[in-house]
C-alpha cells in the first residue's frame, strides 16, 4: 500500500518535473528541474529495493552529467535571454511527433506483451543467482560478469571510443 502511494506520488512528480524541464524559460532553471527529476527517479529505485542503482543514478546523472550540462548552459547563455529556436526547414515538429509516436508504440507494445500475451513471463533475472550472492551490489556485479558479460564489455568499448573521439576532436594537434 505504502509502496503504491509512493510510486504514484513519485510518478506525478517525475512527469511534472519533466514538463517543467521543457517549458521553463530559463535554461539554468530547466537544468535544475532535470536534476530534481533524476533525484525522484533515484527514489523510485529505492522504493523498488535497488539501492545500488539509486546511488549510481544520483552519482552519474544528477551529480556528473547534469553538472556538465549546467557548465555548457552557463557558458553559452550568460547575458542575453535565450533566443527563440529557429528552424528554417521546419522538420523539428514532425520529427518530434514521429519520435513521440514511436515511444508511445513501444510502451504500448511492452504493456500488451507483459499483460496480454505473456502474463506469466518470468519477471526477475535474480532468480537464477546462486543463493550465496546476497545484496544489491554483489547481485549486479555477478550478473554483469556472467550473463551480461558481452553487452557489458561492448558498452565499455563504446564509451572508450567516445572518449578517444572527444579527445581527438578537442585536441587537434596531438
Amino acid at each position: 500500500m505504502a509502496e503504491t502511494i509512493a510510486f504514484y506520488t513519485l510518478s506525478i512528480l517525475i512527469l511534472g518535473l519533466a514538463v517543467l524541464v521543457v517549458t521553463a524559460r530559463n535554461t539554468v532553471h530547466s537544468v535544475l528541474f532535470l536534476v530534481m527529476n533524476f533525484l525522484c527517479v533515484a527514489v523510485i529505485y529505492v522504493v523498488l529495493g535497488a539501492e545500488f542503482l539509486a546511488v549510481i543514478q544520483i552519482l552519474v546523472y544528477a551529480g556528473g552529467i547534469v553538472v556538465l550540462y549546467l557548465f555548457v548552459v552557463m557558458l553559452v547563455n550568460l547575458t542575453r535571454a535565450p533566443e527563440v529556436h529557429q528552424d528554417p526547414r521546419r522538420i523539428s515538429m514532425p520529427m518530434a511527433l514521429a519520435l513521440a509516436g514511436a515511444m508511445l508504440l513501444e510502451l504500448a507494445g511492452i504493456v500488451v506483451y507483459s499483460y496480454v500475451l505473456e502474463p506469466s513471463a518470468p519477471a526477475s533475472a535474480a532468480a537464477v543467482l546462486p543463493t550465496e550472492i546476497q545484496g544489491n551490489v554483489e547481485q549486479i556485479g555477478w550478473l554483469l560478469y556472467t550473463d551480461y558479460l558481452i553487452p557489458f564489455e561492448v558498452a565499455s568499448i563504446l564509451l572508450l571510443v567516445a572518449m578517444v573521439g572527444a579527445i581527438v576532436l578537442a585536441k587537434r594537434e596531438l
Binding site: V28, H29, E51, G63, V67, M74, V137
Partner: protein
C-alpha cells in the same frame, strides 16, 4: 513506531545540531591554530582566551543584513546555499560514530546501508550545484569565474577520489561503512597500512573536494574578492561556510573509517593493548577525526595556493593514473592472495 520514526528523528536532530556547533568551534580552532603557527595570539577578546568567539560569530552573522543583489536571480540566489548545505549534512546519516549502543538498543549511527560509501560519494556530488548556482545566480563576474573553477575542480578530483575508494572497497569487500570497520577488525590491521597509496590520494583529493588550502581556488580572496560567495552576506553566507565545514568533517570521517579503523583502537589484533578498549569507541572515532582536522588546519597555515593549471595537472595527470594503477594492483593482489 518508536524504533522506526522517533529514534531516527532524534538521532538526526542530535547529529545536525552537533554539526552546526562543531562548525562554529572549528572556526575558532582554525583561527587559534593558524595564529599560533604565525606567532600571533588569535582571537582573545570574547571570553577567556577568546573561547566565546565561537558563539559570538554565529550571533553576529544572524544579526547581519541579508542582501540580495538587484540583478540576481532571486530564487536561485536563495536556493544555492540550501543546495550546498543539505547534501553536506545528509551524508552524516551513514557515518558510524561508535560501536556502543545507547540505552541497550540505539546505535551510534543513523543508518547502516549496504551501499554506504557510494551513498556518501553520490550525495556529496550534489553539493557542487550549490556552488555553481551561487556563482551563476549572483549575476556578477567574480562569483561566476569562481563557480566555473569550482565545478571543474570538483569534477576532476571526484574522479580521482572515487577511483581510489574503489581499491579500498576491494580490500574491504563491502561498501557498508560499518562493514569496512569490521573488515579492519577481522584483518587486525588499519587499512592505512594495507593501502598507503590510497590514503595519500584520498587525503589530497579530499582537500581539493572541500576547497581547502592548497586547493582553495574557488574562493581565492586575492584574485576573486571572495570567490563564489562574493555577493552573499549574513546568514546565507554562513550557510556556505556551514556546508564547507560539514564537508570537512565528512572527509575527516571518511578517512577515519576507511584508513584508521573508525572506532577501533590502535592495533585491534594485539591482545596486549586490550586495556585501550576501556576508552569508549566514539572517543577513538572523534580523536582520529580531530587528528585529520588538525592536519587540514596545519596545511592551511603552511601551504601556498596552487595555480589553476597546476591543480588540473595534479588531478588529471598524477592522481588519476596513480589511482587507476592502485585499483589494478589491489585487484591483482586480491585475486592472488
Amino acid at each position: 513506531m518508536i524504533d522506526t520514526v522517533i529514534i531516527p528523528l532524534l538521532q538526526i536532530v542530535v547529529v545536525i545540531n552537533a554539526l552546526a556547533l562543531s562548525a562554529s568551534l572549528m572556526t575558532l580552532f582554525e583561527r587559534k591554530v593558524i595564529a599560533w603557527t604565525q606567532s600571533r595570539l588569535g582571537p582573545m577578546r570574547v571570553g577567556p582566551y577568546g573561547v566565546l568567539q565561537a558563539i559570538a560569530d554565529p550571533i553576529k552573522l544572524l544579526l547581519k543584513e541579508d542582501i540580495t543583489p538587484r540583478k540576481a536571480d532571486k530564487w536561485m540566489f536563495t536556493l544555492a546555499p540550501i543546495i550546498a548545505l543539505v547534501p553536506a549534512m545528509v551524508v552524516f546519516a551513514v557515518v558510524p560514530f561508535g560501536s556502543e549502543k545507547l540505552f541497550g538498543s540505539v546505535d551510534l549511527f543513523i543508518a547502516d546501508i549496504n551501499v554506504g560509501l557510494l551513498f556518501i560519494i553520490s550525495v556529496t556530488s550534489i553539493g557542487v550545484y550549490g556552488i555553481i548556482l551561487a556563482g551563476w545566480a549572483s549575476n556578477s563576474k567574480y562569483p561566476l569565474l569562481a563557480s566555473l573553477r569550482a565545478a571543474a575542480q570538483l569534477i576532476s578530483y571526484e574522479i580521482a577520489v572515487t577511483m581510489t575508494l574503489v581499491s579500498v572497497t576491494l580490500t574491504a569487500g563491502t561498501l557498508s561503512m560499518v562493514g569496512i570497520i569490521e573488515a579492519q577488525q577481522d584483518a587486525g590491521l588499519w587499512f592505512v597500512f594495507v593501502q598507503p597509496v590510497a590514503f595519500v590520494l584520498v587525503f589530497i583529493g579530499g582537500l581539493a573536494e572541500i576547497n581547502r588550502v592548497p586547493f582553495d581556488l574557488p574562493e581565492a580572496e586575492q584574485e576573486l574578492t571572495g570567490g563564489f560567495h562574493t555577493e552573499y552576506s549574513g546568514m546565507r553566507w554562513a550557510l556556505f561556510f556551514l556546508a564547507e565545514y560539514a564537508n570537512t568533517f565528512m572527509v575527516a570521517a571518511i578517512m577515519t573509517v576507511l584508513f584508521l579503523g573508525g572506532w577501533l583502537r590502535p592495533f585491534p589484533s594485539v591482545d596486549a593493548l586490550a586495556f585501550l578498549d576501556l576508552i569508549p569507541s566514539w572517543v577513538w572515532f572523534m580523536s582520529k577525526m580531530f587528528v585529520f582536522l588538525y592536519m587540514f588546519t596545519w596545511i592551511r597555515a603552511t601551504f601556498p595556493r596552487y595555480r589553476y593549471d597546476q591543480l588540473m595537472r595534479l588531478g588529471w595527470k598524477v592522481l588519476i593514473p596513480i589511482a587507476i594503477a592502485n585499483v589494478v594492483v589491489t585487484a591483482v593482489a586480491k585475486v592472488l592472495l
